[in-house]
């Protein structure tokens, strides 16, 4: 039996790259490294124009506050330090590096010699911070901070291998091709958190991964492989915890408040590589898919590589894209530039033509069919929230629990009237937060 939650949707999976092994991207000519690829404070560049940088060299640091450093993913020369504006209207400093093609590694990079079990939790957390690891599923929360806030408080660790969004199969390929990195990473996380147990949650459309992990972990009392139902948003932390342990995270609380902590598959593998091999986070697997690319692929690419290089590697474009999305089609962010650089949170790059993506009608009408109510994983009434938000009735929005919304977009996906429900909810949430800030 697969575990699951109440509500949710099952969009067409479209995982066209599911059986494509991970391939290395040919070295890109230039890379663009954004100084903020995580939630928190932006980094300050530690290099200047004209400097030579090694691969794995730290090029951006946090002076104070929450954040992780950024490392160069190639060796070469810094040609430019500019500011670029991302589609969500955030100005980010960007370091542009010309690749010399030599991949000269930073001489100071070295793996850990002794047995990994000899490391203390503090050492692991330190390495994770220095390696610049942040959540690689899309939310990009700095991993060291997550471990720090969870250590001593939590009793359950979940490795999130759900990958519930359509198209994306980067995590699936990683699980099949390098299961040991995931398992060892999970062991290191357990060590850092002081736990002895770990759940690996895999959706039931990834039968091979489930088989492989069950076989590898047979007889190991520390691990449990949990089969989850294929449903969106199964990978959402609230729904995942509810599905496995039947615990609801109270409104406004975090997983750590109910004794749980969740790490993404690729983040877990990155922790292992950082600790055992000393390699900081500077490459990741990106699924390139969509009906506009010739051949969908899973690509291991240096962070900062321009999307156009990835598209070229997939055989180029066959159709004119309407939308370019970084991340999944449900939660991802639309891009305005085909040269946009891959960042730490980019799990997929989708190039969709107008046939596969939607534009919302300006004058859409709710017919009150109630489908949004039945799919809402947070058990809200999106139809009312949207109509209250439309009429600026934010008090009623609050009464109907708008602040509980996790913005998964399931309501908007099913809406036959093409009402931009989640967008309306978002604007209501922003207004309510503004009003609260004014009051206090």
């Amino acid at each position: 039996m697969s575990l699951t939650f109440i509500g949710g949707i099952h969009p067409r999976e479209n995982k066209n790259a599911k059986n494509k092994p991970i391939e290395m991207l040919p070295p890109p000519k230039t890379i663009r490294l954004q100084m903020s690829q995580h939630i928190g404070v932006h980094c300050t560049p530690t290099v200047s124009v004209g400097d030579h940088v090694y691969k794995y060299q730290c090029i951006g640091r946090i002076t104070a506050g929450l954040g992780v450093p950024v490392h160069s993913s190639v060796s070469g020369t810094v040609t430019e330090i500019t500011k670029s504006v991302t589609p969500d209207n955030v100005e980010k400093q960007t370091v542009v590096i010309d690749n010399d093609g030599l991949n000269t590694p930073d001489p100071s990079v070295c793996g850990y010699d002794g047995p990994l079990s000899g490391l203390s939790p503090e050492q692991i957390i330190d390495i994770v911070r220095e390696a610049g690891i942040s959540g690689m599923g899309g939310a990009t929360f700095p991993s060291y901070a997550k471990i720090n806030s969870a250590a001593g408080k939590v009793s359950r660790l979940i490795i999130n291998c759900c990958e519930c969004e359509p198209y994306i199969c980067a995590n699936y390929r990683l699980m099949i091709e390098d299961p040991d990195a995931v398992i060892n990473g999970a062991k290191l996380l357990m060590k850092a958190l002081g736990l002895r147990r770990c759940d690996i949650a895999i959706e039931d459309n990834k039968k091979e991964a489930i088989k492989l992990f069950t076989k590898k972990l047979a007889g190991n009392p520390m691990f449990t492989v949990r089969m989850m139902k294929t449903k969106y948003p199964q990978g959402d932390e609230r729904q995942l915890i509810y599905a496995i342990y039947n615990i609801m995270i109270p409104q406004g609380k975090l997983p750590a408040d109910v004794g749980c902590v969740i790490f993404n598959t690729e983040t877990t593998a990155a922790v292992y590589r950082a600790v055992a091999l000393g390699i900081p986070l500077c490459e990741r697997i990106v699924t390139v898919d969509g009906d506009c690319v010739k051949e969908p692929k899973n690509i291991l690419c240096p962070i900062g590589a321009p999307l156009s290089d990835l598209v070229d590697f997939c055989g180029g474009l066959v159709k004119t894209p309407k939308k370019i999305i970084f991340g999944g089609p449900m939660m991802g962010q639309a891009q305005w530039d085909i040269h946009a650089p891959v960042s730490k949170g980019t799990s997929a790059a989708l190039l969709l033509s107008s046939a596969q993506t939607t534009e919302y009608e300006h004058r859409s009408a709710c017919i009150r069919c109630g489908k949004c109510v039945s799919v809402c994983p947070m058990h809200l009434m999106p139809t009312y929230l949207a109509s209250f938000s439309r009429t600026y009735n934010f008090d009623m929005c609050e009464k109907f629990g708008v602040m509980s919304c996790v913005e998964c977009g399931s309501c908007t996906y099913v809406c036959p009237g093409s009402v931009p429900i989640v967008q309306l909810i978002r604007s209501a949430k922003v207004r309510i937060k503004e009003n609260r800030a004014k009051k206090s």
Partner: protein
């Protein structure tokens, strides 16, 4: 070379890329496809009605549909509403109105009813999704202003003129009329189920309406809650409190006669005028059923389905409000006294 080509084409489409907030995909279901499903589900009962009552029945349905679609087109132009003919909702309203009329009504009645349903009940309140009463049912009740025409039922297979309003036929009592006197109808129950009974054009065959309703449930257009609660309540009440000295046959005949199946599967489930919470839908269905039986037993007109649904329509907002599901991880907000006195200040 290839790279440059890509760059050039990239510059071209870059300007046309859509940058909008997520989600970026949508299910293929649209209002139009849902309405089409309803039309398909009503098709067997419609064909049966035309087969039983002759081409005049088809004429009435067509007049009703044309009237609805035309008034939707005109009124959306006049009121500057979204031009919504293509969503087929006006066709569904027209079809339902036609199916809810006796075959002997003069042809101007579906025409007037269509205008009333669309202009007064729907468009004046803001168009699709904004009306708080079911347009087709409201129009039907409006047409009761001509009570004689609306209650003149002919037996199936009576020859009627196609256009003329001069009906040279005898009115027959519907099975409901005898049920309300505490007598079992002369029509056998199997005939009631199949649809060999006098009545409105589309309401006679419980069997075909059930088939259409099941189609909608399987396609997940409607949920089973409202029809089940509605029909179940009518059955339970007529079984527990039969008129006269009747046994279970009375309850079975009550369920299969009148507009119950048409109402329960196609009118009470109208999205706009029914609750959208699961518990709310059950309450609404039970309410419809109870009111139907009350009106049938104590009302002046033998059938109560239309009135019952319209009355329950008025309660939808309150039902939704009071059956609002508890949000995931809901915590009771603390009493403001405690919270502010304790730590906030």
């Amino acid at each position: 070379m290839k790279k440059r080509e890509l760059n050039r084409s990239a510059n071209d489409f870059d300007k046309m890329l859509t940058v909008s907030p997520n989600p970026h995909i949508k299910s293929s279901e649209t209002t139009t496809s849902l309405m089409l499903c309803v039309i398909i589900a009503l098709a067997p009962a419609t064909v049966w009605g035309v087969y039983q009552f002759g081409l005049r029945a088809l004429m009435i349905i067509l007049v009703s549909i044309v009237s609805c679609v035309a008034s939707e087109a005109l009124s959306s132009l006049i009121f500057k509403l979204k031009f919504s003919i293509t969503d087929l909702s006006a066709v569904v309203t027209g079809l339902l109105l036609g199916l809810n009329l006796p075959v002997s009504v003069p042809l101007w009645m579906p025409a007037v009813g269509g205008v009333f349903a669309i202009v007064i009940v729907k468009q004046l309140f803001g168009g699709i999704g904004k009306n708080f009463l079911n347009p087709a049912l409201c129009a039907r009740v409006f047409l009761f202003s001509w009570a004689h025409e609306m209650t003149f039922f002919t037996a199936p297979k009576t020859a009627l003129p196609l256009f003329s309003s001069e009906i040279d036929a005898v009115s027959t009592a519907t099975p409901l009329a005898s049920l309300n006197e505490g007598l079992l109808p002369s029509t056998p129950i199997l005939d009631l189920f199949i649809g060999k009974q006098p009545g409105c054009i589309g309401e006679i065959s419980a069997m075909l309406l059930l088939a259409g309703g099941l189609f909608l449930i399987i396609r997940k257009v409607i949920s089973i809650r409202i029809p089940l609660a509605f029909i179940g309540t009518v059955f339970a009440l007529t079984y527990l409190f039969p008129l006269g000295d009747q046994d279970v046959h009375f309850a079975v005949a009550s369920v299969f006669s009148g507009a119950l199946f048409l109402g329960a599967f196609f009118m009470a489930t109208d999205y706009t005028t029914s609750p959208c919470t699961p518990i709310g839908q059950i309450i609404y269905g039970v309410g419809c059923g109870a009111l139907t039986v009350l009106i049938r037993y104590f009302g002046g007109y033998p059938e109560g389905v239309s009135f019952a649904i319209l009355i329950m329509n008025l309660f939808v907002w309150f039902i939704d409000k009071f059956t609002k599901p508890k949000p995931f991880g809901f915590v009771k907000p603390e009493k403001p006294k405690k919270a502010e006195g304790g730590e906030a200040k």
